[in-house]
């Protein structure tokens, strides 16, 4: 591995102008979907990007691929600054970075056969694989667990999980170095989620591809990521290795998210207290002053309302933006918070219920299942 990260995102900002309707469109303001995000993704690594709906995690992924033009900041991929490349200059860059989409029903053109969908990248990039495009596509289909005989079938003839495999085959066709996975499993059944996650892991082992894995499901992210970044309202609030983030998180928001993971044991689920955040996500058009999380934080004090917390490295590889990190916390103890009263930290040793493993037989193929995998049934 080179000492330089594969992807370096520095102070990325993506704002969307909001205009009034009608003939003379006045500018009403900006939605600050991504507001100063910085992180690295190393070669062969998976960085999980989590946060609730509307926090800007998908926009971050799309901005990195230049599907949405970022407002400011710098995106370096494989040593090349792609921030200001023109549309024409972007074409070769598209080989290096690809995307897997959330909705497997929308991501595949219903009028194209599987074969023509997966051969799209070869045609567009004018790549002529040895042995011909058709052979290469069928090899890809086999690699992602599809029957190569189904080359001429249409997406409508496949299940959600199979469609997601088609999308993955298309993404890996040109062996990109980075794949942005935009909630690739959140539209799938829990049993299928595990198969797709395992497929992505296998592909990473084989090709050394890096993933930026955008999801709101912490259990899935835990499965696949080496490092995890937590986003809130366009900002990264905490970024750490998976072990640290899931066992010793420092940001109150990370704690709240982790406490929302349902436990497989209903008795224990009933016993534990969850950190319930008050209120809704504030409008990204008019974000709160100071720390953007202070309106919902149970540890917020006056300082949080005025002073923006810097993203600082509190331990090697662990960055945090919080004035009052939860350092005194030990898992399982009770803590006091001004907003939500007594909260108990969630007990986080998650075990796989046997039903989940039994469900893997669905779709006629049982992928290998790691024991501690738990899907989140609470998807949007």
């Amino acid at each position: 591995m080179s000492d330089q990260p594969l992807l370096r995102v520095s102070n990325l900002k993506t704002y969307f102008p909001v205009k009034s309707g009608g003939l003379f469109r006045r500018s009403l303001g900006q939605v600050k979907a991504v507001d100063g995000v910085s992180f690295d993704v190393n070669a062969g690594e998976t960085l999980g990007l989590v946060g609730e709906s509307g926090c800007g995690k998908s926009t971050t992924g799309r901005s990195i691929l230049r599907l949405i033009d970022p407002t400011s900041g710098r995106i370096e991929l494989d040593g090349v600054d792609v921030t200001d490349l023109s549309k024409k200059e972007l074409v070769p860059f598209r080989r290096t970075a690809q995307m897997i989409f959330q909705d497997p029903y929308n991501a595949l053109n219903p009028r194209h056969t599987v074969g023509s969908i997966i051969s799209g990248p070869f045609q567009v990039q004018k790549v002529d694989p040895p042995g011909g495009v058709r052979a290469a596509v069928q090899e890809l289909m086999e690699r992602v667990g599809l029957n190569p005989e189904h080359y001429n079938r249409y997406p409508s003839e496949f299940s959600g999980g199979q469609r997601q495999r088609i999308g993955i085959a298309r993404a890996i066709a040109l062996r990109p170095k980075l794949i942005v996975c935009d909630e690739p499993v959140s539209a799938l059944d829990v049993s299928i989620q595990a198969q797709i996650v395992n497929l992505l892991k296998d592909l990473q082992e084989d090709f050394g591809v890096s993933y930026l894995f955008v999801a709101h499901d912490l259990s899935v992210v835990r499965q696949i990521s080496q490092r995890v970044a937590v986003m809130y309202l366009g900002h990264i609030v905490e970024l750490a290795s998976r072990e640290v983030l899931y066992t010793r998180p420092l940001h109150p928001y990370t704690h709240a998210l982790l406490s929302a993971i349902p436990l497989p044991d209903p008795d224990r689920q009933k016993q534990r207290e969850q950190i319930t955040l008050n209120g809704d996500l504030p409008s990204p058009m008019n974000p709160p002053s100071g720390c953007v999380f202070h309106t919902r934080c149970f540890r917020a004090e006056d300082r949080c309302k005025v002073e923006i917390p810097e993203l600082v490295e509190v331990a090697p590889g662990h960055v945090l933006a919080c004035h009052f990190p939860m350092t005194e916390m030990v898992i399982g103890t009770r803590i006091e918070g001004p907003n939500s009263g007594l909260v108990e930290m969630p007990n986080r040793d998650i075990e796989a219920p046997s039903e989940v493993i039994a469900d893997m037989a669905e779709e006629g193929r049982g992928g290998p299942v790691t024991a501690d995998y738990v899907g989140d049934p609470d998807r949007d």
């Binding site: 599907l67 074409v91 991501a107 056969t113 990039q125 667990g145 079938r153 193929r365």
Partner: protein, 322 residues
């Protein structure tokens, strides 16, 4: 690998192209096949009308004084003078053969309606796609021009301009008389027809360009033409085909109406419109004048619609009919 093993056991499926799939679905639809055969027959009849007339021994231009009465020119015999020489009767006053006129009328009606439909579909599709995909200022400009065309008092304008514009066409090199009148009709129908389709297409494109498969194509590095014509256009075939099959019979009827109003082809040529217009004065005496072109018109319209429905069903992979 466990994943591929179970899949490999599945029965092999022979791949079929879209055209094969559509064709096999249409072929199993008896109604559609009947209508398709009728349509093809009508087109063949139209194309080979001169030959057919020669074989039967009728002529649309020849006057036959023997088949009409000397006083008043009424056809001799029942139902407009149906006889061995004139299977569908003769024209009042001239004795020209109705069957021959019908065949030549079909020829001109289909020529005008088909050409106008092709031009309409081409204009409507291209402009609609560009308008919907480009959005912004382009969309606004195209949208307002469409509003302008749709707001035009269509009938009034084309009636008022027919004389001037057919002359202009003639001065541009189109043979004078009926050729420039036919071209004028084709142009008028297309120019005033495309905005309807363009609006449908634009609406579809607006929803389609937000789909993730368009984003996936951009992420692959596809250029705009590829996105427009390879990703978006194939999803528009169903509405376009349905629109075309509904428009074609409408154009046949519009052409008939325009001929009725006097801007269609001039005698000795004829079309459905001209024949229907002529029939009005004799309807109480010889109803077959109205009846014969009317029946052919209805058959044309119905068969076009049924074929359009069948093709739409066959094009839609989600319709679940195999």
């Amino acid at each position: 690998m466990a994943i591929t093993e179970s899949v490999a056991k599945a029965a092999p499926v022979a791949g079929r192209s879209l055209r094969q799939v559509v064709w096999s679905r249409v072929r199993h639809d008896k109604v559609a096949m009947t209508c398709l055969v009728i349509l093809i027959l009508l087109y063949l009849i139209a194309i080979f009308a001169p030959l057919i007339c020669k074989v039967i021994g009728v002529d649309p231009y020849a006057f036959d004084g023997a088949s009409i009465s000397d006083s008043g020119g009424a056809p001799i015999g029942d139902w407009g003078g149906i006889s061995r020489a004139h299977p569908l009767g003769v024209e009042w006053g001239t004795g020209r053969d109705i069957l021959a006129q019908l065949l030549f009328g079909l020829r001109i009606s289909l020529l005008i309606a088909t050409s106008a439909t092709i031009i309409t579909v081409f204009l409507g599709t291209v402009i609609g796609i560009v308008s919907g995909y480009a959005g912004g200022r382009t969309d606004a400009v195209i949208g307002r021009s469409m509003d302008l065309i749709l707001a035009f008092p269509f009938l009034l304008i084309i009636l008022a301009l027919s004389g001037v514009l057919t002359q202009r066409l003639s001065s541009l090199g189109v043979p004078e008389g009926n050729p420039s009148r036919i071209l004028y009709m084709i142009l008028v129908l297309s120019v005033f027809g495309w905005p309807y389709l363009a609006r449908i297409v634009r609406g579809q494109v607006l929803s389609m360009r937000e789909r993730e498969y368009v984003e996936a194509a951009i992420a692959m590095g596809a250029r705009t033409p590829r996105i427009l014509f390879r990703e978006i256009l194939p999803n528009l075939w169903a509405p376009i085909l349905v629109y075309a099959t509904l428009t074609l019979p409408t154009y046949i009827a519009t052409e008939a109406a325009l001929s009725f109003l006097g801007i269609g082809v001039l005698p000795p040529d004829t079309s459905f419109g001209a024949m229907l217009a002529n029939s009005v004065s004799y309807f109480s005496v010889v109803p077959s004048y109205l009846f014969i072109p009317g029946v052919v018109l209805v058959v044309l319209v119905v068969t076009f619609n049924l074929v359009g429905d069948a093709v739409r069903d066959a094009l839609d992979p989600r319709s679940g009919r195999v």
